[in-house]
């Protein structure tokens, strides 16, 4: 409750017009940054506990990568093999969106929660982004795949290494032609 209350309070403070429009002093901006970061990190514990109950990943880390917006993720920067991405839809209706996971340049197979292959592509991050100062430079590619998730629910994507026999495939090949088809099946 304390974690959620902290997040609630931080979000309340961010409704102030200075926070919305950027008319706060620099020190205040940095304090907003601190408040938000601490509140989000605290609430991550709640999300982790909830997701452990909702899934069979009792030891799942359920890490959030807060730098996905700059194509960086400490969790996947060395290797994305055997990574499970739990995708949670906060909307009140089924949604189909593309997910981008920063990864090193390797061959990957993406599967859904029922171990069915999901078409995916490896796309290079633009060099203008890679050349930015202070940005971790390990992840120079993004693995892109589509996910359809029902309202307020979660969905699993697993990223596996490609077996050696398939490793000759070009990195931007699509590994399967079946669409996820999950929404139709369940509907």
């Amino acid at each position: 409750s304390e974690n959620l209350e902290n997040l609630s309070q931080a979000m309340g403070i961010m409704q102030h017009h200075d926070a919305v429009t950027g008319t706060e002093k620099q020190a205040v901006a940095q304090d907003y940054d601190r408040l938000l970061y601490e509140a989000i990190s605290g609430a991550e514990n709640n999300a982790r506990d909830a997701l452990r109950i909702l899934t069979n990943l009792t030891s799942g880390e359920f890490d959030s990568c807060l730098e996905l917006n700059i194509s960086a993720c400490a969790f996947t920067q060395k290797s994305a093999n055997n990574v499970v991405v739990t995708v949670v839809n906060p909307l009140g209706h089924t949604s189909t969106q593309y997910v981008r996971v920063p990864v090193p340049k390797e061959n990957y197979i993406v599967t859904d929660e029922k171990a069915r292959k999901v078409p995916s592509e490896l796309v290079a991050v633009p060099w203008q982004v890679l050349s930015l100062e202070h940005r971790p430079n390990d992840t120079q590619h993004e693995l892109v795949f589509q996910a359809t998730v029902e309202k307020i629910s979660n969905f699993y994507i697993r990223i596996l290494p490609v077996p050696k026999s398939q490793s000759h495939l070009s990195y931007n090949s699509v590994y399967a032609h079946n669409s996820i088809g999950r929404a139709n099946d369940e509907e």
Partner: protein, 282 residues
């Protein structure tokens, strides 16, 4: 060829390879010449002693002179995948962009990257992007009201009083927290943004969004600092997304725009775990 065509089953984009810029978009059964450009307003610097000497700052957008449109040839590189197609555009040392189409997604994504804005010449700069079309919008455009209803705006006018439009650029800027649109009898263009920005339609058929500002003077309206993150040594780099939807004009609120707006503001949350066990739904 003078044209680069990037398309999927829903959208066709045509780029002019002589300039490197976007030229035409075809989607939802509508085709329109849409040019996109980036521009720089120099921020006015004064002593704030009286209104005419007010500096451009956190509260005040006050350009000094006309916009400078980046007109150099844009370097292009293309990623032509099955699910995603990307055109990477390099405008100059501090402006670049990725134009992106996703298979099955009915919008064009523009992921812009601006900064650090140079100020070695002691001039503050405010960077905007402009989408120019032939849509006869007749001075009217629409901006959202904090993600709720769309409000009609009339260029150079206010609803309830005669406005002093001495500041003709900033006087037409409105807050855009989710969407800005314009239309005529046949076509409608909408930009959906990922953050609160300023936006305007300074000419018929044209939409403009402010992306990133770096200014060297305070505007004396309270913050007491210039918009210049000095502690970092150089200016900041900002990265964000604008989604564009071209559609037939409509009298009624557009459901597709509204639902896209929600998806952009509440995207999927991603949680990462290492596991050798395949998870199952409970």
């Amino acid at each position: 060829s003078n044209e680069l065509i990037v398309e999927n089953s829903l959208i066709k984009l045509v780029f002019d390879t002589t300039t490197g810029g976007l030229k035409t978009i075809e989607m939802n059964g509508v085709t329109e010449n849409i040019e996109q450009s980036f521009g720089i307003y120099k921020g006015f610097q004064g002593n704030n002693g009286e209104a005419k000497n007010r500096s451009s700052g956190a509260y005040i957008f006050r350009p000094d002179g006309n916009i400078e449109i980046l007109s150099n040839k844009v370097e292009l590189s293309v990623y032509d995948g099955t699910k995603v197609k990307e055109v990477h555009q390099h405008f100059n040392e501090f402006v670049s962009q990725v134009v992106r189409l996703y298979d099955g997604i009915n919008r064009v994504e523009f992921e812009w990257l601006v900064g650090p804005i140079p100020t070695e010449d002691e001039v503050g700069r405010e960077i905007v992007t402009r989408f120019t079309t032939n849509i006869a919008s007749n001075g009217k455009f629409y901006t959202d009201s904090n993600g709720r209803e769309m409000l009609e705006r009339d260029r150079n006018k206010r609803e309830n009083f005669d406005a002093d439009m001495t500041e003709s650029v900033s006087g037409n800027y409105y807050p855009v927290t989710a969407q800005i649109s314009l239309q005529d009898d046949k076509k409608r263009i909408t930009l959906l943004n990922d953050r609160a920005q300023g936006g305007a339609s300074l000419r018929d058929g044209e939409l403009e969004l402010m992306l990133h500002r770096r200014l060297l003077s305070d505007d004396a309206f309270g913050v007491g600092e210039a918009l210049n993150e000095v502690q970092y040594g150089t200016g900041l780099i900002a990265r964000g997304k604008i989604s564009l939807i071209l559609d037939a004009a409509s009298e009624n609120p557009n459901h597709a725009e509204r639902s896209t707006q929600l998806e952009l503001h509440l995207p999927f949350w991603k949680f990462f775990s290492k596991s050798n066990n395949v998870a199952s739904v409970k």
